[in-house]
Amino acid sequence: MATVAESVNYKGKVINFPLANQQENEVADDMLHENLARPTTERTKRLKARCRWKHASAGEFIDSEVRAGIERMRFITEAHKASEGQPEVIRRALGLANILNKSTLVLQQDEFIIGYHAEDPEMFPLYPELSYMAVQDYLMSDYSPQPKEEAEAINQYWKRFSMQSKGEGYFSKEDLTRMYQVSTMEAPGFATGYNSITPPYETILQDGLLKRIEMAKAKIEHAQKEMEKIPWNATEGLEWISKIDVWKAMIIADEAVINWAQRHARLAKIIAESFETDPARREELLEIADISHRVPAEPCKGLKDAFQAKWYTYLLCHAIDRYASGYAHKEDELLEPYYNISVEQKTFQPMTYTDVVEMVEMERLKISEHGAGKSRAYREIFPGSNDLFILTVGGTKPGYVDACSDMTDAILEGARNIRTTEPSIVFRWHPSGRVKTKQHVFECIRDGLGYPSIKHDIIGTEQMKYYSQFSKNKNGVTDDEAHYWALVLCMSPGVCGRRKTQKTRSEGGGSIFPAKMMEIVLADGFDWSYSAMQLGPHTGEPTEFKTFEQLWEAFRTQYAYAVSTVIRAKDVCRYFEGKYLQMPFVSSIDDGAMELGRDAVELSEQPNGWHNPITTIVAANSMVAIKKLIYDEKKYTMQQLVTALRANWEGHEAMRLDFQNAPKWGNDDDYADSIIKDFYEDIIGGEMAKITNYSGGPVKPVGQAVGLYMEIGSRTGPTPDGRFGGDAGDDGGISPYMGTDKKGPTAVLRSVAKVQKNQKANLLNQRLSVPIMRSIHGFSIWKSYMDAWEQLNIDHVQFNVVSTAEMKAAQQEPEKHQDLIVRVSGFSARFVDIPTYGQNTIIARNEQAFGANDLEYLNTQL
């Protein structure tokens, strides 16, 4: 039997919250989510059943068959050796072409959207040219590519070309060792190979590659004429050389892509004509062949074209040319014109709304099967999911006109029906957004998917305009273009469209960890609990801090050092990427790169510098406790605190409780909130704002914690907020520490709303009561909560609607709970694939029971 929320008890009343869907009365609480998936068709049901997930838990793949493929690394290496002496950008194009020309194609039963990035659907490719270390990690594991000797030789070959060997030379040994600890700073980008991108899908769908090739040819022709001008002018003329190389590389890449898509078309046709016995599937294979023959060479003419062209582009940008995490696009607006052709006008590829929902489900399953060859550390921080995939819907068009459409609804409905952890969805919330679509958003959340997470439409749009003014070539987004944005990864917004999109990771996600900094500020920058080394600058003996301000400034020094070092590593990496890891295919579909003859990696038109403080709240709560107990009330001395921390609070239990009971973030408490507001605005955001990054703009904080709050927690000693050494950090950029928000969801919003200056992208986790959200009143309660959230000018919020009972049951019998999805920081994960340590932090989040916060103890039998 389902729990119906009659559990609120105040003033002697029972409030009934009958379930919106009465059939759920028969479903036990701890099995609820196993009963919510309802694939739209038999086909998507079969596809889901045989989906080869690439989930990892504690760094290990759950499915034992999953492993790395050899083809990509083999073909790119072969091309690299053969192209020695040619311009680097041409070598990159030839590398991509060699992969596309020779790779094994995968076409699976029941698929409509086709294409895969490795030779076997259990496999994923590796990128020795990106990160030597990440590949080495695979070679030593059970997931090594075969034959292993060949893979080892390939990795050895790339070692001298690696980004790591190029970047390290510009850092002191001391800085490098500190970064490799991953405890106050993340490892440098040139070592991890981690990346993100917002592909300009629009040009592929609207122009097609044949047109892009024509454009590049015309550019080369023009350049040659300019060079041949008499009299010769070297100051202008020599600049054409690098541009001609870039355009030539584009042509090589695009022709290879067309050829690759048409190989898929021929494969589908051969199967249809020679092997397929089911006449319906035969017809479908012929339609698939027709589509892949035309796109992405030609512009898309209908919705099926658009889904397929988008998928090929996705594979190229995120997995074949280079690895890049994410699924950044404004999917509803991108597809809406083709939806109108196929569903409204039915003039090409006629479809019904339900057909579109099925297509969305199939696309989601393609992503669910998509594995990424991430290094072990990155597998550890995204537990329970393949990788980060986040698409964006909703929001507004120029003039803040609602951008929601039936395509938006189909995307949300498909997501709710098929119930997969990936891709996650972001909904841009604006008051003008239509209620019908918001109802779909609510249903996904209510069903416990953890997505859509919600971003504030106006805040994001204004941020695009703000960054635009720093454009290095004075060509940032216009006010109209600023409305067309999506999340690049979990949290940071970036523009979409035909040009100016983010192409590489220098613009985002450099992580720094304030909790650990708090720990070392109390030890003159020394890390006594984990690495036993000087982890940051000497900032003085804490016992010498006569005032709270001295402590504050010492922390600022630690933070400023870490944040500058991490972002410097990002930008140094970008410098070398522009010279050795060009992306000719991406350049060819970017109007800016095409016009200017510059590689997409190197060119920056719209700055978008978001970097990532994680575990800020542990540090902030610590500041509050120290100020109150040591400097204001003088109940303890700093010496006592340092002694207690070194003992991990052992023998100092009464003192620890005082520090734990000091005011905490998230309770609308003026004492705590005024300190934490300053902490965010003055230090966390304020110090970042002083930086100028690769794109010429300032940097803003975006708290996207991913699974790092667990990793970092385990490397952080005891902290003055009363936390024990090794306990998890806070799980969201601006969320209260798990279990310390005692006053309900409105008080959390009020605290969060106080932070406004210098930062405006921050992750807020809320856990809501299942029975109330599933009751007939659920939508109306949630909607008014959201309207107030919008008006409070808070950047983000995301919800877990999963009962403690179900999570505990899933810990006991994981095999019965494969469909239980939870929100972990910036992404959704399959609960049973998360390590127990992480599961417990989610269970510990306060369940906001909307008015019955003492429900738990009322049920306690004494």
């Binding site: 919250f17 209620v435 309207d787 107030a788």
Partner: protein
Amino acid sequence: MRTPLITEIQRFSLQDGPGIRTTIFFKGCPLHCPWCHNPENLNPENEFYFYAGKCTACGRCAKICPSGALKAICVPDKNAVLNFDKSKCTLCMKCVDVCLFGAREVVGKSLDIDSIVREAVADKMFYKHSGGGVTISGGEPLLFPDFTLELARILKTKEQVHITIETSCFANWDKIEPLLEFVDLFIVDIKSMDPEKIEYVVGGSHKKILSNIEKLINSGVAVRIHLPIIPGFNDSASDTKSYVDYLSQFADKLSGVDVLPFHSYATGKYAQLNREYQYKGISDLQSQKIMPLVNALNKKGLRQVTVGGIAKTASTSNIE
């Protein structure tokens, strides 16, 4: 002016009037309904909760107890356990102060009116979106009529929020009438239509309560009726009939009726307060049992008859 202790200021309340509300609970009630679901609000004096699950029997409380009400007893081969003699306890709260583990917690805080107002209006923005406001509840707010009036006056005239009072209406009319100027909605409990049950079980005056309800209705202020349905006390067919007969007279005037079936969730609180609970072990009332009453009220034309009584929020009421 007599000032109540406050047991809780609960934000994001959804069941104490329309929309998203903040509810202020006063400690102290002139009645003594044996099923009371908020027993901590009966006694106007300080009390403390004891959470047995959090107690580690460390003995700190026994050591400090000046009256000898608390004693640690050492049982051979087992942990120390505590013996508590309620008759000796002077409610000095020293044991609460020394507890490191949160096993003892004071029920009821003395707050000045400014702090109450500040907390009560913190969620004003949510009231606007949802059609909510502040609810003064208890206990019985009318046990502190001057304080209630002052609080309602400030909230209405200075803060302009929607105000609801939850009351049994067991008070003199001259204490209720001044509230009409500031209060938007009265939610009034009727525990029984039998004067003897009211007098001997609950401890009030049936006549006074009904007379006040009628005066409220006639004054034109919005009134909702709460009907707690308690097994063996007021759940018979004749009880149902008496409710329906009485309330149907005001069918066009009452804002609504909420039928509230008995539940047992207060069991834990009685234990934590170290009190006897007469309804221990009694099962929750099944919703089906109250359907005849709900149906009959609907049939007589009463508006907004609910089980449990949650009001829709303003922002979405037009689309549901």
